[in-house]
């Protein structure tokens, strides 16, 4: 029986979906050790402690809230110091984070502060006696690597969507904690948060992604990709590096080996050749559709469904057909 600490990340005072997934993973880990407690750590501006009940719903027994006006933004140094202080005063079998901009930043800081072993980006975990075994897709998602971690606390970060947030309601014991380092005196200081385009889900959360490549020929033709994404409804828009290098789309939209790694229910590749570095970021999507005028394009090797044709003609037709299909529902 061992307790597990989990960092439940928030942005703008709201819990992120990945936070509930991390809590679910922590619940699984605690249960696998014979039924320890899950302690969820949440940080934010005053009021964030109110997220305790939501965290209890996904299996947290204790919610530790770090509240401070300066924590309206992600003040990493203060958060890392406070989690580390907590972990030193209690004995945790593991610390779970999300593999996100926040989790990637905090995990290694905690590993160094606590001299604790760390594995990032896991998709599965198993406990057998003292050993913690995890799975991590490495080498740009080409190889599933099984790793054993010895020592406590083991720090792991979970890949988005790999652990489903399951309801496992608890009565939460709420605690507050004082910052171990002043969040308004950090050496790395957030000066501004730039919100992305509203109305579209992030690439990690979107069930559908429509991605465009150089085959679109000109930046204004990305409108066709946007329109198709709108027709699906809950879709995000992605791009290849050829496109982000041209400046047609921001680098943050890039999917692949040096961009984002995604695995939506449906991935529509529009005018994308299917270079190995692009496939590295999307080949684990559930269903892949490719539209390309070259029937030899490598993207067709991974696509479940392909249409050979000019994207400038096929995509508007597809947008229309998807709109109609949606109406029919």
């Amino acid at each position: 029986m061992a307790n597990v600490l989990v960092f439940a990340e928030t942005r703008g005072g709201e819990l992120r979906k990945l936070a509930t997934e991390a809590v679910a993973a922590a619940r699984r880990l605690a249960d696998a050790t014979g039924g320890g407690e899950v302690h969820a750590f949440v940080a934010g501006a005053p009021g964030v402690a109110q997220k305790a009940d939501a965290l209890g719903r996904y299996g947290a027994d204790v919610v530790i809230a770090l509240e401070h006006p300066a924590l309206a933004t992600f003040e990493r140094e203060s958060i890392a110091a406070t989690i580390a202080a907590r972990a030193k005063s209690a004995s945790y079998r593991a610390i779970v984070l999300g593999f996100s901009a926040q989790g990637r930043d905090l995990g290694p800081r905690l590993a160094a502060k606590l001299d604790a072993p760390i594995v990032s980006d896991i998709v599965d975990l198993e406990v057998a006696g003292d050993a913690l075994t995890v799975k991590h897709p490495g080498y740009a998602n080409k190889v599933m690597i099984t790793l054993t971690i010895s020592g406590s606390p083991a720090i792991v970060s979970v890949r988005p969507s790999a652990f489903s947030a399951q309801e496992s309601p608890r009565t939460v014991r709420a605690e507050t904690i004082a910052p171990a380092a002043d969040p308004s005196a950090a050496r790395v200081k957030v000066t501004q948060v730039v919100e992305g385009s509203k109305g579209r889900p992030d690439l990690a959360d979107a069930p559908v992604i429509v991605a465009g490549g150089r085959g679109l020929k000109a930046p204004e033709n990305f409108k066709l990709v946007e329109d198709l994404a709108d027709a699906f409804g809950n879709a995000a828009v992605g791009a290849t590096r050829a496109v982000t290098d041209e400046g047609w789309r921001p680098h943050a939209d890039q999917i692949g080996q040096t961009g984002r790694q995604v695995s939506p229910q449906l991935y529509v590749a529009v005018g994308i050749s299917g270079a190995i570095q692009h496939l590295a970021g999307m080949r684990s999507s559930k269903t892949i559709v490719a539209i390309n005028r070259d029937k030899e394009a490598p993207i067709f090797k991974v696509a479940d469904y392909g249409i050979i044709g000019d994207v400038l003609e096929v995509v508007p037709a597809l947008t229309q057909a998807v709109r109609e299909a949606k109406k029919g529902h």
Partner: protein, 216 residues
């Protein structure tokens, strides 16, 4: 050279060029095969190189960070750049953990960077948003996509790199507590099919997405 490590070397070279003076030192932990990578960095323009020698490359990022921190502890530098993550592990642990062990401020996954007047500012991509940060030097910065592409070494650079100093000494790795138990190739995707040609094929595609793939 690893993708993001290439970006980091390029950013280091540009930082020196902009400052007008200084030195770029490249450091790598690993077996003798990393010497080739270090020479490549020197052919791009780095001034000298240090190999922290290991027999194999552990999958334990913290142990590598300890070796780097031991080496850098005595160093006089303004900035230490790392790639955002390595190709094999994609973990992104080493840079940030090294910073923490050295007690230095650290900006992870910077997609824009400005260094001026002893201070830095950077942009970091969050999921669906971005944050702008300011930080003091010396600092550690890990480099994301979007800042810089590694330059191609010139012939002159390649010749010069052969004469640049490359020191090698044993890495003081920490204990290895993360061990690879197995590797497996993910199952191949079942072969797909071409639904048809031209705009006329979309009706069939939508039908398949509804009835077969059930994603619409």
């Amino acid at each position: 050279m690893d993708d993001f490590a290439g970006y980091a070397v390029e950013v280091a070279l540009q930082t020196k060029e902009k400052a007008g003076s200084g030195e770029v030192v490249v450091v790598a932990v690993g077996p003798d095969s990393v010497q080739e990578t270090l020479r490549k960095a020197m052919s791009m323009g780095a001034d000298r190189a240090i190999q922290l020698k290991t027999d194999t490359m552990p999958f334990d990022g913290l142990s590598i960070a300890k070796a780097l921190a031991a080496e850098l502890k005595a160093g006089a530098f303004d900035l230490v750049f790392f790639g955002k993550h390595a190709f094999d592990t994609s973990a992104g642990v080493v840079g940030t953990a090294t910073a923490e062990l050295l007690g230095l401020p650290c900006v992870t996954a910077a997609s824009k960077l400005e260094i001026a007047n002893g201070k830095g500012s950077a942009r970091r991509e969050l999921e669906g948003a971005a944050e702008l940060v300011e930080f003091a030097l010396p600092a550690v910065v890990t480099i994301d996509e979007g800042i810089a592409r590694p330059r191609y070494p010139s012939l002159k650079g390649i010749m010069a790199a052969k004469k640049k100093p490359l020191e090698s000494r044993p890495a003081q790795l920490g204990p290895i507590r993360v061990v690879v138990k197995g590797m497996a190739l993910p199952p191949d995707r079942p072969p797909g099919r071409i639904v048809g040609e031209g705009p006329g094929a979309v009706t069939e595609l939508v039908k398949l997405l509804q009835t077969e793939a059930k994603v619409l």
